[in-house]
Amino acid sequence: MSGQAAALELTSLSRSYGDRRAVDDLSFSVWPGEVVGFLGPNGAGKTTTIRMCLHLVKPTAGEVRVFGQDVWGQGSPSLRRVGCLIESPATLPFLSGRDNLEFLRLARGGIGRGAVGRTLATVGLSDRAGDRVATYSLGMRQRLGLGLALLADPDLLILDEPATGLDPAGIVEMRDLLRRLAAEGRAVLISSHVLREVEETCDRVVIINRGRLVRQGTVHELVAGTGLFAVRVADPAGALATIRGQDWGGAARLRDGVVVTRSRTGRGGDLADFLSRAGHPPEMLVEDRQELEDVFLELTHEEGVQR
């Protein structure tokens, strides 16, 4: 990715409200062609961060660059390449879905008339395009909000909780759409609490807690890099006691009758040998692949902050 500007680059971004630091020294990038999940518990600072990226909340310190341009230092022309959906969809309820898109088309300028029809088809609202938004369901409003974000054919999409209110089919459609957009070379940043969707949709994940970065990496790195093994043995309690007696096994634990532990050498074969010699031959031994949800909960419950 060298030589190419990041679609979105945050450098030491901070925002304080009085004594409280909502966002604290946050740095990460989103590159063209990737979908990045932006995760954190409620109040972690996700929406404040997104608002700072979109010239809606002024940072106390740090920098936001969109395609190389400083959003706060050089005005906001680079934001014209951005489509956004922040929290609830920003729609005018007294207008129809089509007129909402038409309003934004006129405001932005330079977008062909055909874009409105194409966007309605993309988000599956063609049939109800002429109805007032006040009559739309939550999911339909969400689709329209997504349509408003997509209308200008943006190079960077920033979506805050885009799956809210969508039915399962809608969620699958959105996942496919985002993957397609990334495949076309666009960058996508999604903030979401639906971790299963993030795991299936995103290439990389950025996790923050209390305004600070706690982990970032590819989804594969996050879920597979635990170094733990799940071992099924005839006497789990006995095996657990044996392992805990070792200097490397203090963190071993039982989970649903299975012993979850590290290996002294990091290799599963060595762990199997050790247990066999100790009289607990494994009936099953697999690398303990965590769900993203486990990683998320573990990281956001920790007090410490890693880089």
Partner: protein, 292 residues
């Protein structure tokens, strides 16, 4: 994809035009014109020109029509301007627009320009309708309009200018209240209450000036926006004794401070308008944290 000024104004006009409740607003000036026709017919149409010169009749009718236009167009314009300025914050579309690269100052300027364009169009249509209403109510006068002296046409221009100033102030006031409050309800309420509240205050100050015999109250009255707007038409035509609405003097009467010159009227009105504009821009540009 530039979010240029013209694009934003076009979008604002589109939004205003597509809001169905706005379609009812022309009923207000329409009702005013119906009253104008009735006034014209009962005051002048039936009695023809008895006891009055053609110039005097034309002046009376023009003044009346101007006042009807200023009042009946002003209120809907206040509503339109206040709503246009408040909608983005009320419905959150400001996130979409600012987050997509439209500047806050540009948004305010676009709303002002859109409401201003509507005001100009409304004034033009209103004048044409008022002329038609006068012709309908007093055909005897309509037939002799071409014989009116140059003075009348000059006064007509001053009347139109006064109405335009009044409508412009309504647009700026509506934009100001909503931009500063960032609330549809508060912005609309403040916009609709502002001028009547000043009228009421004028009455109170006049009462205090009369009872306390203190100049400060009369001076204060001359600094308010509403009485100056009411008085502008008269102040611009000092060669006339009174500008009349039907058979009555305009507005709440002469300002307590006595006859106020056009220059002072225009300065006070300009100061208010500039203050409103400045506060709107400072509010839009200065309060960068958009929490809506």
């Amino acid at each position: 994809m530039s979010f240029g000024h013209a694009s934003l104004v076009r979008a604002e006009l589109f939004r205003i035009a597509r809001q169905r409740s706005n379609w009812l607003l022309p009923l207000v000036p329409l009702a005013g014109l119906v009253i104008l026709v009735a006034l014209t017919a009962t005051s002048y149409g039936l009695t023809s020109t008895t006891g009055k010169t053609v110039l005097s009749l034309a002046r009376d009718l023009t003044d009346t029509a101007s006042l009807v236009l200023a009042m009946t167009l002003g209120a809907p314009l206040l509503l339109i301007a206040a709503r246009a300025a408040a909608h983005d914050h009320h419905y959150g579309t400001v996130r979409l627009l600012v987050g997509g690269g439209a500047g806050r100052g540009r948004l305010v300027a676009a709303k002002l320009a859109a409401a201003g364009a509507i005001a100009l169009a409304a004034l033009a249509v209103g004048m044409a309708c008022a002329a038609a209403a006068v012709a309908l109510g007093s055909p005897s006068l309509a037939g002799r309009m071409t014989s009116l002296p140059q003075t009348y046409w000059h006064e007509l221009l001053l009347d139109v200018f006064s109405v335009a100033v009044s409508l412009g102030c309504c647009v700026i006031l509506g934009t100001f209240t909503s931009t500063v409050s960032r609330s549809l309800a508060a912005g609309l309420t403040a916009a609709m209450v502002w001028l009547p509240a000043e009228q009421a205050l004028t009455g109170v100050l006049a009462f205090l000036a009369g009872t306390a015999h203190a100049d400060v109250f009369t001076t204060a009255t001359g600094l308010l926006l509403a009485p100056n707007l009411d008085h502008l038409m008269q102040a611009l035509q000092p060669w006339r004794a009174t500008v009349e609405f039907g058979a009555r003097p305009v507005g709440p009467g002469p300002l307590p401070a006595g006859p106020v010159g056009a220059e002072q009227c225009l300065i006070v009105i300009s100061a208010w308008a500039s203050g409103f504009l400045l506060a709107s821009l400072v509010s839009a540009l200065g309060r960068v944290d958009v929490s809506e």
